[in-house]
Amino acid sequence: MIKEFFKRYTIFPANYKITVGIIFPILLLIIISLMILFAANPNSFQLNSFFGKQSVWFGVSIVAFLIVQSIKPHFFYENAYILYGFLILAIISTYLFESVGGSSRWIKLGAIQFQPSEIGKMIVVFALAKFLTDLRNLSSVYKTITLSFILTGIPALLVFKQPDLGTALVYIFATIPMLIWRGYKLSNLFVVFGPFISIIAASNIIFFSIWMGFVVFVLYYTRPKLINAIGVFISNIIFGTITTLIWNSLYPHQKNRILIFLDPTKDPMGAGYQIIQSKTAIGSGGLFGVGLGNGTQTQLRFLPVRNSDFIISVIGEEFGLLGISAILICFGIIIYWMINYAQITRNQFGSLSIIGFSSIIFFHTLVNMGMAVGLFPVTGLPLPFISYGGTFLLSMFLIIGITQNFINNNFR
């Protein structure tokens, strides 16, 4: 049976062709990451330093990339729901393990710690891609959209309770571009999704105004029936205002409780401090930066979590706007080619998966880099290929590996 399984799902020797447009920028990002980790931490020649560990993980990730090339693409299609089931079980089982720092994200087997929600990003994309691929046609629009959000919402909710708000948002966010890619209109999505964004946007009058402007803009360009357009507009307004009213009627300690519920690791004072330090570090980098290893902010340890969530602050200080430009261009190229290949790919499942993957990478970069300059609240999403962290690097390489696999096996 095992033999059959391998025969059915593996290719050997695999096609190891590389898409330069995607792989080359990634290698550049890895080099920048390792340089920063090397210079910003002591004892970097030792294996258990930040640099040493991340280098080892990079090696492991490359091996994983190569192994993934031997899997036939239809393995993911045929087993998407089974993987999805395993994911749900794995996330639930994290609740059984001792929590680390107030959150239970890990499964521990002896010395190995494993964070299922990380690999889950990929699996959620597969499950949704299969669901959307298997649709015969695009009728019953709202039912499909709702079911899609339920499909990604269940693991998102479970992850959110761990609590890991950032990853939960990644699951939800990846759904939207995939639905659009499948052919649903933005206005359709708005009907289902809009009011929930209104709830969040209502926390800030400026955000809410921008959001409502966006709603109007979308309604104008997508030109739904007038009655539908009015319905969408009003429901968004109502959701937004009601939330504000309820929120304002709460006592401070109740509000605090909700905020802590949303993000228990949140320390309003601590997070504010981090943002200020981060902005100072980035701003003082100027156009060209102060040079590798010369960042005073980082060297003096005023910047917390400088290796993981706030690594972009170190880059901003030491390499300046030039470094930031390089990084954004790299990510731009990666995203551009992924979307391009998603279009070229001649099968629906692969195409949708690649769109899901690019959304994940895009969302991570946007939130992480936005958080460092105060555009987003601190959610603890790392920067792909750059932030320190083994499981995350590995999962990003798996995503890229599978993307490469889908591209290489385009016509099979």
């Binding site: 890619w181 605090n256 706007l321 930031i324 731009g332 998603a342 300059v373």
Partner: protein, 583 residues
């Protein structure tokens, strides 16, 4: 794999790509804004290289009496902290040591010690509760004290004549153990204070407030250049104000009555349960220190054999004595096992088994019925009465009145007293066994029976309101919780009448409690105890013409007879309530 694939239109592809690039451009503009447009500002901050977060402690909530007289307020004091890493060889320890009154060697070792760990970047507390003069002198010498920080730190002050020591309680500095278990919401930090007793403890989440912070720019010489960005300042939020049910004037009177005695007095409004006055003596002086209670003072008081920290009103466990006869009378009236007119001949002694049980009046009271028995507090009557009842029934009626349970007042660690039931007695007297003889003492509120003054007050309130007493509370609130006790009107009327005769009848034991104005009812008690003279009890209430009521429970430890010591105090309280200016 299905191949039902229609190709993706270019518009969709470019739509997504442009959306991504558009968001990246917004992101890029923000980086541009920081790194190019505001470069010099951030460069300046970075060169000076220290933005320090300075905590701004929130003042605790103010506490007022029911008429708006401040009982607990805050005053500004200052604390001195230092950032250890900024202390250099120019640091003038001499000035600092002089002003803070801490030996130089101690300061040096403290700072050097902190410099060994990563805590060297965090402010290190040197001394608290300094006044403004010390701070201004230190400020003048700021250039010689790199790394020094001054923060305003509000401290408690007690401006009122009423001490209210035990009701208010005190503060202590948080311990490591406390920090571990503290609620995350309240955000305690090291060196914070917290309510450790009384209302300060019970209402800690309300009183505490929310600390604020601001960011200061500190230059590379460690000199604080003040606030950095006003928009990043988070103002401290003052704790919530508490308005007490306490009446300042009555409280002062009650405290004076207890002066140099041991015991407790509590006054309340029976209908609402609002406590007008609560005192426990001996007490301690909240004004004898600033800020949290100093540890040495605390342990002194804690080991004092007079136990000044102990709130006798809610934690004092006393035999309730004859005051408990009221509850026993209710048992008789409700069960109807014996007629209220049933009478007993008291000749001063009651033989039970092979023991003689005495009435407090050696010569006896003669023929007494229930009303007389309460009026004269005749023991013999109750000895005979209890013969008609078993322990279980008696326990049930005592529990009805709340004996054996906490009253639920808004103070932490209230005691629940003791009404011995069968399980308890079986456990305690296993070897020797227990018998009806024990019940004879219990019915008089002696033996194993223990109650707090607050529980006695609750009984009075139930009687005064015909079983609809307000739950006892110390903080004003709009909704009144009611403790109900469903007895027949006949029962309530009878007990109230009997209590009337105690105070107003000829030779009633409570005649010394009779006020000049208003109608008082009550019951005295003289509780035997192993520590010497009996405890002196009075429990009762007064009703004014306008229907207003005030109930009182008084216990004077080893004071002697209730009729002689506690009853005259009640009179003064009743008179004060009625607005009579005599005595």
């Amino acid at each position: 794999m299905p191949r039902n694939f229609e190709s993706i239109p270019n518009s969709r592809k470019y739509g997504l790509i442009f959306l991504c690039f558009g968001l990246y451009i917004i992101l890029y503009l923000q980086y541009f804004n920081l790194q190019v447009r505001n470069y010099s500002k951030y460069k300046g901050q970075s060169d000076n290289n220290s933005i320090r977060k300075i905590p701004l402690p929130a003042p605790r909530g103010i506490i007022y009496d029911r008429n708006g007289i401040p009982i607990v307020d805050n005053m500004p004091t200052y604390e001195v902290k230092v950032i250890p890493v900024d202390v250099n060889e120019k640091f003038n320890y001499f000035i600092l040591s002089n002003e803070l009154n801490i030996p130089q060697s101690e300061l040096i070792s403290k700072i050097e010690n902190a410099n060994k760990y990563s805590s060297k970047y965090l402010p290190l507390l040197l001394k608290r509760h300094l006044d403004f003069e010390v701070i201004s002198r230190l400020s003048e010498n700021r250039l010689e004290l790199p790394g020094i920080l001054f923060t305003e730190l509000p401290a408690r002050t007690y401006p009122s004549d009423a001490k209210l020591t035990h009701v208010i309680g005190y503060l202590r500095t948080v311990s490591e153990g406390f920090l571990k278990n503290a609620s995350e919401e309240l955000n305690y930090n090291r060196d914070d204070v917290h309510g450790f007793a009384g209302l300060e403890l019970f209402y800690e989440p309300d009183l505490r407030g929310v600390d604020g912070y601001e960011y200061h720019l500190v230059d590379n010489k460690g000199i604080d250049h003040g606030i950095l960005l006003d928009e990043n300042r988070f103002s401290p939020k003052k704790g919530k104000t508490l308005v007490l049910t306490i009446d300042h004037g009555l409280q002062v009177l009650v405290e004076n009555l207890l002066d140099s005695l041991k015991g407790s007095i509590i006054c309340s409004n029976p209908k609402t349960g609002e406590i007008f006055a609560m005192a426990s003596a001996p007490d301690y002086n909240l004004d004898s220190f600033v800020g949290p209670i100093p540890n040495d003072l605390w342990s002194n008081w804690n080991t004092d054999k007079n136990r000044p920290l102990f709130n006798r009103a809610i934690n004092g466990l006393y035999p309730p004595g004859s005051t408990l006869k009221l509850a026993a009378a209710a048992m008789l009236l409700e069960t109807n096992k014996v007629s209220p007119n049933w009478s007993v001949n008291c000749n001063g002694v009651y033989n039970f088994g092979n023991r003689k049980y005495h009435c407090w009046k050696k010569t006896g009271h003669g023929n007494v019925n229930l009303k007389h028995a309460i009026k004269y507090s005749c023991n013999i009557y109750f000895y005979q009465l209890i013969q008609h009842f078993n322990l279980k029934t008696w326990v049930a009626y005592m529990n009805d009145f709340g004996y054996g349970f906490k009253t639920g007042i808004d103070v932490e660690f209230e005691s629940s007293g003791l009404i011995p039931n069968k399980t308890y007695l079986d456990e305690k007297y296993t070897s020797r066994g227990w018998a009806r003889g024990n019940l004879l003492s219990f019915v008089l509120g002696q033996g194993d029976v223990l109650s707090t003054p607050l529980q006695v007050l609750k009984m009075v309130n139930l009687i005064a309101t015909n079983g609809m007493a307000g739950k006892l509370n110390l903080v004003k609130s709009d909704d009144i919780e009611i403790d109900t006790l469903n007895y027949s009107n006949k029962t309530w009327t009878f007990i109230n009448d009997a209590m009337w005769t105690v105070v107003n009848g000829l030779k009633g034991t409570g005649e010394k409690a009779k006020p000049n104005k208003g109608v008082a009812r009550g019951k005295t008690g003289t509780a035997e105890n192993p520590h010497g003279e009996p405890h002196s009890w009075f429990a009762g209430y007064t009703t004014l013409k306008n229907g207003k009521q005030l109930s009182v429970a008084i216990i004077i430890e080893n004071g002697g007879k209730g009729s002689q010591v506690a009853a005259p105090m009640a009179k003064k309280i009743f008179n004060n309530f009625a607005g009579v200016k005599v005595d």
